[in-house]
Symmetry: C2
């Protein structure tokens, strides 16, 4: 039982919660640690309050009440699958984590992170993934390295997402909510499409919502074809 | 120019950021205050940093840097529209706000809040709505008071959402992510349906994602019929 806050493992966790390094990250809480175990991830450190460490000493970004904290080594997937997602400059870690979760539910391929995306292994993104990050580690790649049919979401695109005839594998490409995808990427994509929205509605929707809708729609098309 | 933190308007704003009352709420930042004005909402209080108040004195839940804060009187819509949403026990204000935004983009009716939902006029929900709360104020009603075809989302339901033949007006009904809708509500709903997800995926998806997908799908069906 760890009884000193100067313990080396506690120091490591505190530092990682401040700033990630050495390819390590922290998962806080039973649900995430269980998801890690269920997907065969061995923790580098695993501390349970009251068993391994005095409860008050367990570091957490969630405040008190966290009962278990694990430290794991990040993993990165290669692009692939019949349906996957590519994100460009999605800065918000909650959005990145939520999209990893939606892709786990709706696609067979990973979420591929292009430049300027939030760290998917930061505490907020890991939490938002609700454990899906352990089932489906994200990948990192430039747009140019993607194979298959790239479908760039763009509200100015002519075709609605549902009308696209695309050859799988399909990669749905999304940018940040306000700025969207850079024009060079829109030109380089195999296809562009928009999500139909009401004329009296907002100019855009949250990138997590757009990703969920796009994955749902393209999954239905791929399933109907199979 | 307000130069004392004891000013009555500043006190009111600080109190409202702590706890809402008297039907008033706070909108922080240019985007929200602009959305309020664009939708014809008159502020009860409107303070701009450097114009109406010393910048350091402007209260904010966002930390320093907020340049404008408005106080408004809440409004509530009646249930209605060809397509709308009913939420039951969705506790997270971020989800409530995001769903208000998605409904603004995809549906003509309001988001109706049943029991135990987060306050849609709390600071976090207002921010998550990105101003859509001013364009489409939510409503409050019990499930029993809803008219039209109620479609309860339930992952155990037999029919996928896309296969439903429903008579408009349609009301998509969602519960919290883990618990879902109460069984009495599922029995009372006109129709139940699920969002098809991968067998090797998570047990559920975020309620905001589910709402976006459901609104997208039902909007497409209603549009195709028209």
């Amino acid at each position: 039982m760890i009884t000193s806050k100067d313990n080396q493992q506690l120091k490591t966790i505190r530092k990682l919660l401040q700033k990630r390094r050495d390819g390590l990250f922290v998962a806080e809480g039973e649900d995430l640690v269980d998801a890690a175990a269920a997907n065969g991830w061995e923790p580098e450190i695993l501390l349970r309050a009251g068993e391994d460490v005095e409860p008050d000493l367990l570091p957490s970004s969630l405040g008190s009440g966290t009962r278990v904290v694990g430290v794991y080594r990040e993993r990165w997937s290669q692009p692939g699958g019949e349906l996957s997602v590519y994100l460009h400059a999605v800065h918000d870690p909650g959005n990145v984590g939520t999209i990893i979760r939606s892709a786990h539910a709706l696609a067979d391929g990973p979420v591929i992170l292009g430049p300027d995306c939030a760290d998917p292994y930061g505490p907020k993104a890991v939490r938002a993934s609700m454990g899906s990050i352990f089932a489906r580690p994200p990948g990192r790649a430039d747009f140019e390295a993607l194979g298959g049919t790239t479908i760039a979401l763009d509200r100015a695109a002519r075709s609605p997402l549902s009308a696209l005839e695309a050859q799988p594998p399909e990669v749905v490409c999304l940018g940040a909510e306000r700025t969207g995808l850079p024009s060079a990427l829109l030109r380089a994509a195999t296809l562009t499409a928009h999500i139909p929205m009401r004329a009296d509605g907002p100019d855009s929707i949250n990138v997590g919502m757009a990703a969920a809708i796009a994955l749902y729609e393209r999954r239905n098309r791929i399933t109907a074809r199979a």
